[in-house]
């Protein structure tokens, strides 16, 4: 019953739309490559599957590249790579941000000050140049995991700073004081009194870290700092640009990966509308009531007209 309540359909329409887009992309990433090769007989790596730069047709739904590769097959395979990089990079970055932010915010004295200094130093190191330097050093070795790792390890400081600020404001609230008097241990106070109040922040940090990682991966590949032999949204854009797809009017090559990146950003933004409910039981209850009331109101209007 508890699980049912957690899995219920979100009431907020924006959140619902965002979730649908996200789930659709995840499903494509999981089954897309298999489906495309089974139904259409196409794979991302096969050269000369068709003629160069064919526009969309029944055989190549999204046309072909200059090397005659099937764009649809590349897109679904690229979705898998890009989402993997996004989720892994986002998870690494969010975990580091929460750990360092909450601990540096909650602990006082030398340890807290040291940790804060560490976060601040990382905060002023410009992320993108650092990312480019490390990525050009690894030169695409290690595949997508390496890319995700590099992105995750360089993108946490901003999030950590936000968590720290929020923890600082929470640590002196009365209920934290009261928990201390109630004999709670430090670890328990952090995990069960303070951290749940950070849930919306953590959720939105994660969402945007995922999008940020996907964009960073695309950016890296686009400027050629990635491994051009992997297939991802970024490498598709890289090849489309270097082969002059825009000049030859081959919109089917660069538009789909670009739209996909825009789509996942939109989905994250929409889902973010719902995260406030995570840490406020009152919002959950109120939401139920208002939607019921709204339902009744529409029924009444329908009856009257």
């Amino acid at each position: 019953m508890r699980l049912r309540r957690k899995l219920r359909r979100p009431r907020n329409r924006k959140v619902a739309v965002g979730l649908v887009i996200l789930v659709a992309l995840v499903v494509i990433a999981i089954v897309g490559p298999v489906l495309v090769s089974a139904l259409l007989g196409q794979s991302a790596e096969r050269l000369h599957a068709g003629g160069p730069l064919e526009p969309p047709s029944g055989r190549h739904w999204l046309g072909t590249t200059t090397a005659g590769e099937d764009v649809l097959a590349q897109l679904v395979t690229g979705t898998r790579t890009s989402l993997l990089v996004g989720l892994t990079g986002g998870a690494i970055s969010t975990t580091l941000a929460v750990l360092l932010g909450v601990i540096s915010g909650y602990s006082t004295g030398k340890a807290g000050a040291l940790l804060t200094a560490f976060v601040n130093i990382f905060l002023v190191i410009p992320g993108l140049p650092l990312l480019i330097i490390i990525a050009s050093y690894t030169q695409g070795r290690g595949g997508w995991i390496m890319v995700a790792l590099i992105i995750g390890l360089t993108s946490w400081p901003g999030g950590a700073r936000v968590k720290r600020a929020q923890t600082l404001s929470l640590r002196n609230r009365d209920f934290v004081q009261a928990a201390r008097y109630a004999g709670e241990s430090k670890v328990r106070i952090v995990l069960l009194e303070v951290a749940p109040h950070l849930a919306p922040l953590i959720a939105s940090t994660f969402l945007f870290a995922v999008v940020g990682s996907i964009a960073a991966e695309a950016g890296l590949n686009f400027i050629g700092a990635g491994n051009p032999n992997t297939v991802s949204w970024g490498t598709m854009l890289f090849w489309a640009q270097s082969q002059g797809a825009l000049l030859s009017g081959a919109w089917w090559w660069f538009a789909p990966p670009g739209l996909c990146i825009a789509l996942i950003g939109t989905a994250a933004g929409l889902i973010n509308f719902g995260v406030d409910e995570l840490s406020d039981p009152r919002l959950r209850a109120r939401g139920q009531k208002t939607s019921r009331k709204a339902g009744r109101a529409t029924a009444a209007i329908a009856e009257a007209s």
């Binding site: 009365d174 209920f175 009261a178 008097y181 109630a182 004999g183 069960l192 840490s279 009152r282």
Partner: protein, 328 residues
């Protein structure tokens, strides 16, 4: 009255709070050599203006913070930092604002079961029954209706009862109330005070009742201590202090609070005739090193000695004393 056993004492407690930022290097003299004694089965009211150190003193008594000088004694033994956990089990605090002292993410069941587990080592099987007992002790009945509620589903008075129940869960010997009723509606203040008095009578709790409301202190407490700028200026049985205040600050404080029973409250009170309101509005400077009587700059009876030498303690009857140069 003072024959009753002392349970929690502050002995010559001093607290200095260092400032940060622009005022770095300066300190706030929050408490200056404060003595206070809580006795089993008795309620001590602590009154004084905002910033006089009432809450700081309560926090030190609860060991939420450590004194800079002096010591806190429980049953005659000084308490150190290492005893903190055990001290929390014996001395509990009820905070002022029930809207911020309960974590709104937890149900009543969780809030009350935590101290039961931490201090009482209550086995999991007994938890529910103990939580229901606690709810009944603070008159939240039927207890079954309240156990699964979130704080936002409760009124201010109900929330404060939960906060009191949480403090009682540790089975403390002392309850420290930092203005426990000031955030509540006037209509339910009396309920909460009666509840606290009942707990005192039944369980023999010692209580500290911090308040701005002298009328409720008189109704509720046995003894009263008056604080000014981190000093206790007068202590005594509540009737004696409110009917026959000795310290000029106590007189001023009583004159400022309406009480139909007190004849001296009228504006024609001879003692306060010569008060110039303009001069007296100035708050004490807590940043300066305390010398002499803290009230000297506002006192209508001030003499040059007052601002240079600390006034002696003068005892009138048993348990009623003040620190003032007026009483040699």
């Amino acid at each position: 009255m003072s024959s009753t056993e002392a349970i929690l004492e502050a002995v010559a407690v001093t607290k200095r709070i260092p400032l940060h930022g622009r005022d770095r290097g300066r300190v706030v003299h929050a408490l200056n050599g404060v003595d206070l004694t809580l006795r089993r089965g008795q309620i001590l009211a602590l009154v004084g203006e905002s910033g006089s150190g009432k809450s700081t003193l309560a926090r030190l008594l609860a060991l939420g913070d450590l004194p800079t000088g002096g010591e806190i004694r429980f049953a005659g033994k000084p308490i150190r930092r290492a005893d903190r956990r055990a001290h929390f089990g014996r001395v509990q605090m009820v905070l002022q604002d029930p809207f911020s002292s309960l974590n709104n993410l937890h149900r009543v069941r969780y809030i009350l079961s935590r101290p039961l587990r931490n201090f009482g080592r209550t086995p999991a099987a007994d938890l529910e029954r103990r939580v229901l007992d606690l709810l009944e002790r603070v008159n939240l009945t039927p207890a079954d209706d309240f156990i699964d509620k979130y704080p936002h589903e409760l009124s201010g008075g109900q929330r404060q009862r939960i906060a009191i129940a949480r403090a009682l869960a540790a089975e403390p010997a002392v309850l420290l109330g930092d203005e426990p009723v000031s955030m509540l509606d006037v209509s339910i203040r009396l309920d909460i005070l009666n509840l606290l008095a009942e707990l005192r009578n039944r369980d023999g709790l010692a209580m500290l009742y911090i308040t701005h409301d002298i009328a409720s202190a008189r109704y509720f407490a046995d003894e009263i201590s008056v604080m000014y700028a981190g000093h206790i200026v007068e202590t005594g049985p509540v009737e004696q202090v409110t009917q026959d205040p000795k310290h000029p600050y106590t007189k001023l404080l009583l004159a400022a609070s309406p009480d139909p029973d007190r004849p001296t409250a009228s504006s024609g009170s001879d003692d306060l005739d010569d008060l110039d309101e303009e001069d007296l509005a100035e708050p004490p400077n807590l940043l300066a090193e305390p010398t002499g009587c803290p009230f000297a700059h506002r006192c209508p009876h001030a003499t040059p000695t007052c601002s240079t030498e600390a006034p002696p303690t003068h005892t009138f009857t048993t348990g009623h004393w003040t620190r003032c140069w007026l009483y040699p």
